[in-house]
C-alpha cells in the first residue's frame, strides 16, 4: 500500500511537468502575445520588452529557464498584474475558491447521498421519482441561469439575501447552493444506481441470511460498496470545485481563482497561466490518488500491490 502511494506520488511530478510543457507549447503556438494591443509598438520598445522577458532567446533556452523556475516552485511575476508574483496571486485568490468549493462539496455530498440512498431503498416510490426528477433538473439547468434566478428571487423580490460579493455567512448561501446543485444531482444519481446494484449482490444476501439487522446491512455492508462510483466521481469533482467555478465567481462577484485563470488566459499572461495550470493539475492528481486509496478501504476486494 505504502509502495503504491509513493509510486503514484512520484508519477505526479513528471505528469505535472508534462502538463505544463503542453500548456507552454499551446501558449506559444497561438499567434499574438501579452504586449501586443491594437496599436503596434515602436520596434525599439518591442525589442526592449522582448529582452526584458527573455523572449529574444532561442525557444529551448526559454523553455529551459521556464522549467528550471517551475522546479524551484518559483513561477515568476505576472506579466499583467505588475509587481505581483504568481505565487502571491494564487495564495490570495485560492482561499475564496477553496471555502466556496469545500462548502458546496459538503452540501452536495449530504443532499446527494441522502437522496440517493433513500431513493434506492424505496425504489419506484414517490420519493424516488421526485428526487430523481429533481436531480435531472439539477443537471439540466445551467448554473449561470440558476444563480441569477436565485438572486432575482431571494435578493430582488424577497430581500432575504445579499445579491453578491464576499461577506458573512449570508453571502455564501446562494453561491454555495448554485455551485452544489449539479454535483448534488450527479451524486444522487450515482448513489441510487450504485446502491440498487449492490442491494442485489450475493454478499448482501449473505449478510441478511446471517440475520443481521437491516440497518447494519445497509450502513456497514451495502453503503460501502454502493458509494464506490460516487467516490470516483467526487475526487475529480472536489478538485474542480476547489479550483473555483468561474461562472459562480462571475455571477456573485467573488474574487476566486477561476476568474483569475480565465483573465490570465485572455491576457496571455504566461507565468500566471502556467502557475495556475501546474497548481490545478497537481490538485486534480492528488484528488485522484486519494480516491484510488479510498477504494481499498471501501471495497476489501480491491488491493494494490
Amino acid at each position: 500500500m505504502l509502495k503504491f502511494i509513493l509510486k503514484r506520488l512520484l508519477i505526479i511530478v513528471p505528469m505535472a511537468l508534462l502538463v505544463v510543457t503542453v500548456t507552454w507549447v499551446l501558449i506559444r503556438v497561438a499567434p499574438g502575445n501579452f504586449y501586443s494591443t491594437e496599436r503596434s509598438l515602436p520596434p525599439a520598445i518591442e525589442e526592449n520588452i522582448k529582452k526584458k522577458y527573455g523572449l529574444d532567446q532561442p525557444w529551448y533556452i526559454q523553455y529551459g529557464t521556464m522549467m528550471g523556475n517551475i522546479l524551484r516552485l518559483d513561477f515568476g511575476d505576472s506579466l499583467k498584474y505588475q509587481g505581483q508574483s504568481v505565487n502571491e496571486i494564487i495564495a490570495r485568490h485560492f482561499p475564496y475558491s477553496a471555502i466556496l468549493g469545500l462548502l458546496a462539496y459538503l452540501l452536495a455530498l449530504g443532499i446527494g447521498l441522502f437522496a440517493g440512498i433513500v431513493a434506492a431503498l424505496k425504489q419506484n416510490s414517490a420519493f424516488d421519482y421526485g428526487s430523481m426528477a429533481a436531480a435531472m433538473l439539477g443537471l439540466s439547468v445551467p448554473n449561470f441561469v440558476l444563480g441569477p434566478l436565485l438572486v432575482l428571487l431571494f435578493s430582488l423580490y424577497l430581500y432575504w439575501l445579499p445579491p453578491a460579493r464576499w461577506g458573512g455567512p449570508l453571502y455564501l448561501i446562494m453561491p454555495v447552493v448554485t455551485l452544489a446543485a449539479i454535483y448534488a444531482a450527479y451524486i444522487a444519481r450515482l448513489t441510487r444506481a450504485g446502491m440498487l446494484e449492490v442491494m442485489r449482490s450475493d454478499y448482501i444476501r449473505t449478510a441478511r441470511a446471517k440475520g443481521l439487522k437491516e440497518s447494519k446491512v445497509l450502513l456497514k455492508h451495502a453503503l460501502r460498496g454502493g458509494i464506490i462510483p460516487v467516490v470516483s466521481f467526487t475526487g475529480p469533482a472536489l478538485a474542480s470545485l476547489l479550483a473555483g467555478t468561474v461562472v459562480v465567481e462571475k455571477v456573485f462577484a467573488i474574487p476566486g481563482l477561476g476568474n483569475i485563470f480565465i483573465q490570465s488566459v485572455l491576457n496571455r499572461d504566461e507565468p500566471l497561466i502556467l502557475g495556475i495550470v501546474a497548481f490545478l493539475s497537481i490538485l486534480i492528481m492528488v484528488a485522484n490518488l486519494i480516491v484510488d486509496i479510498s477504494y481499498g478501504f471501501l471495497d476489501p476486494r480491491i488491493r494494490y500491490e
Binding site: 505528469m15 505535472a16 508534462l18 502538463v19 503542453v22 500548456t23 499551446l26 501558449i27 503556438v29 497561438a30 499567434p31 499574438g32 435531472m136 433538473l137 443537471l139 439540466s140 439547468v141 445551467p142 449561470f144 441561469v145 441569477p148 434566478l149 438572486v151 432575482l152 430582488l156 450527479y186 444519481r189 450515482l190 444506481a193 450504485g194 440498487l196 446494484e197 462510483p229 466521481f233 468561474v246 461562472v247 462571475k250 455571477v251 485563470f261 480565465i262 488566459v265 485572455l266 497561466i273 495550470v277 490545478l280 493539475s281 486534480i284 492528481m285
Partner: protein, 330 residues
C-alpha cells in the same frame, strides 16, 4: 447483446417448424425506449424544438414580419418591453423581438450539440478503438496522452484553437461548410467553435470505446477475421467498432447536452458566439446584465435551454436503459 447483433436480421430456421424471424438489437431497444415515458417525453420535446427552431423564424416573419435583427424604426420602441401579445417573450435592449432571437439562438445551440458531438465521436471512437486494439505500449502511451489533456483546462485549448485557426487562417473545409449556411467571417468563427468544442470533448468517449474494444478483441469473430487475413484497420473499424456501438450511442446522447452547456458557458464568458449571432448561452449572458430590470431577457432563453437539456438527458438515460438493460451505471 453482442451475440444478438451477430444474428441480427438473420432468419433462424427451426428443424421442421415454421420459420421465425429474430428481432434485432435495435428493434428491441426501440421497443424498450417507447415504453419509457420519460424518454418518449424527451424525444417529443426535442423533435418539437428542432422543428420550431428550423421553421419557426420563417413562420414568424410571415405572420408578423419580425426577424431576429429587426430594430424598430420608431425611437420610442428601442427599449426592452416585457412579454406581450406582439412579443411573446418581450424584446431586448435594442427593441428586437426576443422570441425571434431565441429561435435563431436555438439553431446555433442545437447545431453545436450536433456538430461538436459528431467531431468528438469521430475522434474519440477512432482514438479509443486504436488504443484498445493495439494494446500494450501504444495503448499505454495513448491513454497517458488522454490523461495529460484531461489535466489541461479545456478553456485554454479552445482559446488556442480559436486564435490559431481564427480569422485568416480558417481551414478551407470549415469555410466551405459555413458557406453552405450563408458564410461570412462571423459564421466561420462559429463553425470553428463547433470544431474546437468537439476537439476538447472526445476524451471520455475514447476511454469508453477503449474499454469496450479491450473486452471484445479476444472474441472468436476477431480471431476469425485475423485468420482470414483481414487488415488491422478493417478489423478495428468494420468488426470491432460496430459491436461497441451501444455504449457509444449512449455516451454520445449525453455528450450533446454537455457540449451545449460548454458552448453556453464560453458564450457567457464572451469567448464563444459573437454578435450579431446569438446562442441560448449568449442571450442568457446578455440577460444576466439586466436581471434586475428586465428579467425576461434571462428567463426565456435560460428556460428554453434548460428544457432542451432536460429532455436530452432523459432521452440519453432512456437510450442507455434500452440498449443496455443489464448495466445500470449512472
Amino acid at each position: 447483446m453482442r451475440e444478438e447483433q451477430h444474428i441480427k436480421d438473420e432468419v433462424m430456421p427451426d428443424a421442421d417448424g415454421p420459420v421465425v424471424a429474430g428481432t434485432s438489437l435495435w428493434k428491441d431497444a426501440w421497443k424498450r425506449l417507447l415504453k419509457n415515458k420519460l424518454a418518449v417525453f424527451g424525444l417529443v420535446v426535442i423533435a418539437i424544438m428542432v422543428v420550431v427552431v428550423t421553421i419557426g423564424p420563417w413562420i414568424q416573419q410571415w405572420l408578423t414580419g419580425l426577424t431576429p435583427d429587426y430594430i424598430p424604426e420608431d425611437g420610442d420602441q428601442i427599449r426592452s418591453f416585457p412579454p406581450s401579445w406582439e412579443h411573446p417573450m418581450g424584446t431586448d435592449d435594442a427593441g428586437r423581438d426576443l422570441l425571434a432571437r431565441v429561435m435563431q439562438g436555438g439553431q446555433i445551440s442545437l447545431m453545436v450539440g450536433i456538430i461538436s458531438t459528431i467531431v468528438s465521436l469521430i475522434v474519440g471512437v477512432s482514438y479509443g478503438a486504436i488504443a484498445g486494439y493495439l494494446g500494450g505500449r501504444v495503448d499505454n502511451i495513448m491513454m497517458r496522452i488522454v490523461d495529460i489533456i484531461y489535466a489541461i483546462p479545456y478553456i485554454l485549448i479552445v482559446i488556442v484553437l480559436l486564435s490559431v485557426f481564427g480569422g485568416e487562417n480558417i481551414p478551407g473545409w470549415i469555410n466551405s461548410l459555413s458557406e453552405f449556411f450563408g458564410g461570412g467571417a462571423g459564421l466561420n468563427q462559429i463553425f470553428l467553435l463547433f470544431f474546437a468544442l468537439g476537439l476538447v470533448s472526445w476524451l471520455t468517449m475514447a476511454r469508453v470505446v477503449r474499454g469496450q474494444i479491450l473486452s471484445l478483441k479476444n472474441e472468436e469473430f476477431v480471431m476469425a477475421a485475423k485468420a482470414t487475413g483481414v487488415s488491422t484497420p478493417r478489423i478495428i473499424f468494420k468488426h470491432l467498432v460496430p459491436n461497441a456501438l451501444g455504449p457509444v450511442i449512449v455516451y454520445a446522447t449525453l455528450t450533446v447536452p454537455s457540449v451545449m452547456l460548454t458552448e453556453a458557458f464560453l458564450s457567457f464568458l464572451g469567448i464563444g458566439v459573437q454578435a450579431p449571432y446569438a446562442s441560448w448561452g449568449s442571450l442568457a449572458a446578455d440577460g444576466i446584465k439586466n436581471i434586475a430590470i428586465f428579467p425576461w431577457q434571462l428567463i426565456f432563453p435560460g428556460v428554453t435551454m434548460a428544457l432542451t437539456l432536460f429532455s436530452l438527458n432523459f432521452l440519453g438515460d432512456g437510450l442507455r436503459d434500452a440498449l443496455d438493460p443489464q448495466t445500470r451505471k449512472f
